[in-house]
Amino acid sequence: MTVSVRGIGWVTKTGYGSVRTGLDQPFAEGEGIHSLAKRGIFSHPFKNFGRLDGVSRLTVSAVALALQDAGIEYSPADKQDIGIIGTSREGSLKSDSDYFRDFVENGRTLSRANLFIYTLPSSALGEAAIHFGLTGPLLYAAGVTGTLGEPLDIAAGIVVAREAGRMLVGRIAAEEVMYAVIEGTQEEGALCTLDEARLIMESAEDISGILRQLYILKVKKGTA
């Protein structure tokens, strides 16, 4: 079975977009990740977007853009056989600190459940699964370097073994994020092959670097 990349969504500090459709939207002044829920990237309102931790906000935004880029519609009532794997170097470190610092500042007696739930590396993926109705395998997987190569391999293995119809696989680094939709058929309109994506995702240092190379590849291949 050939595994291909169907769509990619991304959010950086300066804007957001998607690779196949060529969406590249800079943030206006005063805008940022906090304003994404108002920019129409979700097909139905994202309940409590403002209460999510930073990693979750980035994750669900990039997933929305990736699904849109891949032409996949979603709704909370219609769950889909799609799994999700996320990676990073930091895991939930920021949310860990936020939770425990708050607990200590409250005299080590009161702790907040709404902060605690984001202290798992997989929490952001859970928020994505709930909003987009993703019922496939869900896990955080990170190698020593925190790059996307090995998580991509795991996701491809899941698709090839038909453990899920499609997989979302993505990376967060330095408050930037990208998610790709991969699937097991080489339908017309696929962005690139898994091998092409892997080569880029392993060689580029940061998310912006990966995106630059993906856009170059897209132009070369004429995929849109």
Partner: protein
């Protein structure tokens, strides 16, 4: 290509080794007791399952203390080319606690990436390493991925290491969620009221059957099938329809090429929370219909060991397969109505030559099911 387990060991609140845990469970004993590591007066419960002899105020994290004990003398058993999958939810979170409470060290030292490097050094694995974290299904998800790598021909040998510890961070968090029972957890009991946090470390070395035979390894058992799913329903509670776990179990049975009728017993996640245990029983009844399959949970014995739970439960289930008997569900006094005839407060014999099902579930609605032969 079959994925077989050739080495496995655990460190639990009952002490080092599978024998210690197995014997205590068979004797219907619990290790759960009031936690003395930190003040628990502000929390919903005092009880936890802690490994004797660990130092909370040490510069070395609790999980690294456990792993150092676990891997003492295992050098020749772990091939250098093994891939490493490290399963945990919070790893060295006690280092972050110290940095925030005492200003000792940097919070970043608690990152899972740092722990991964330490475990690579400790185990001497040079085949590449990766953290796998999927809430309380972390180690069963890692075992599933290890078996998938072997079946898919991507690896010959994978070492899955699992660990999590009882810390103020974890304890306060579960307390804030009102998830703790005031007394030691009572999985599947009519009066169950929550979980008890526990700690453990363990490893399992999984190989292709071909390599295991070539190296004349003793084969402990086979990971014959697996299924992973998500409820896509709620961050902290399971689906009330159980459809996610049902899907995972059916996928695991399909993956193993076996029928539900061949399952001799179920090692359940069985946390002791009202919702989890009810969700599991609904799933078991949906898959196994009217056939009462022996079900047990070990969490009344050692607590909920979080990211390590799946691996410890897999090791105990493999032992149960070999012994032909499953342990009692510790702390069970009166089985809940939906679990009547499935769980027991005494050991239950299993049908010879049957297979085992191990289920786990976690935050974000994650479900795993493993079929062991």
């Amino acid at each position: 290509m079959k994925a077989v387990v050739v080495e496995t060991d655990i460190l639990t609140p009952f002490g080092p080794g599978i024998d210690a845990c197995w014997d205590a469970l068979l004797a219907n004993r619990t290790s759960l007791s009031p936690v003395s590591r930190f003040a628990t007066t502000a929390f919903y419960s005092d009880y936890g399952g802690t490994v004797p002899g660990l130092q909370y105020d040490s510069e070395t994290s609790l999980v690294m203390q456990m792993l150092a004990r676990l891997f003492e003398g295992t050098g020749t058993k772990i091939p250098g080319d093994a891939k490493l999958l490290l399963a945990t939810i919070k790893g060295e979170i006690d280092l972050l606690e110290k940095s925030i409470i005492n200003g000792a060290g940097e919070a970043g030292e608690s990152s899972l990436n740092n722990l991964l490097r330490k475990v690579i050094d400790l185990t001497g694995t040079m085949g590449g390493g990766m953290v796998v974290s999927a809430a309380c299904t972390s180690s069963s998800a890692a075992a599933a991925r290890a078996a998938a790598m072997i079946r898919g021909g991507e690896a010959e040998c994978v070492l899955v290491v699992a660990c999590d510890s009882v810390t103020e961070f974890i304890f306060s968090g579960f307390s804030s969620l009102m998830a703790l029972d005031k007394i030691p957890a009572r999985p599947f009991d009519k009066n169950r009221a929550g979980l008890t946090v526990g700690e453990a470390a363990g490893y399992t070395l999984i190989m292709s059957e071909e390599r295991a035979l070539r190296e004349q390894r003793t084969i402990i058992g086979e990971i014959a099938g697996w299924g992973l799913s998500d409820d896509a329903n709620h961050m902290t509670g399971p689906s009330r329809e159980s459809e996610g776990l049902i899907r995972a179990i059916n996928a695991a049975l399909d993956s193993a090429g076996v029928s539900a009728g061949q399952v001799g017993f179920i090692s359940a996640h069985g946390t002791g929370t009202p919702y989890n245990d009810a969700m599991e029983m609904r799933a078991f009844r949906a898959v196994f219909k009217e056939r009462n399959v022996p079900v047990y949970s070990i969490k009344g014995g050692i607590g909920h060991t979080m990211g390590a739970a799946g691996l410890v439960e897999m090791a105990i289930a493999q032992r149960a397969l070999r012994e032909g008997v499953v342990p009692p569900t510790v702390n069970l006094k009166e089985a809940d109505e939906d679990a009547l005839g499935w769980v027991a407060d005494r050991r239950q014999a299993i049908v010879p030559n049957s297979i085992a099902l191990v289920t786990n579930a976690g935050f974000s609605g994650i479900n795993t099911a493993l079929v062991l032969a």
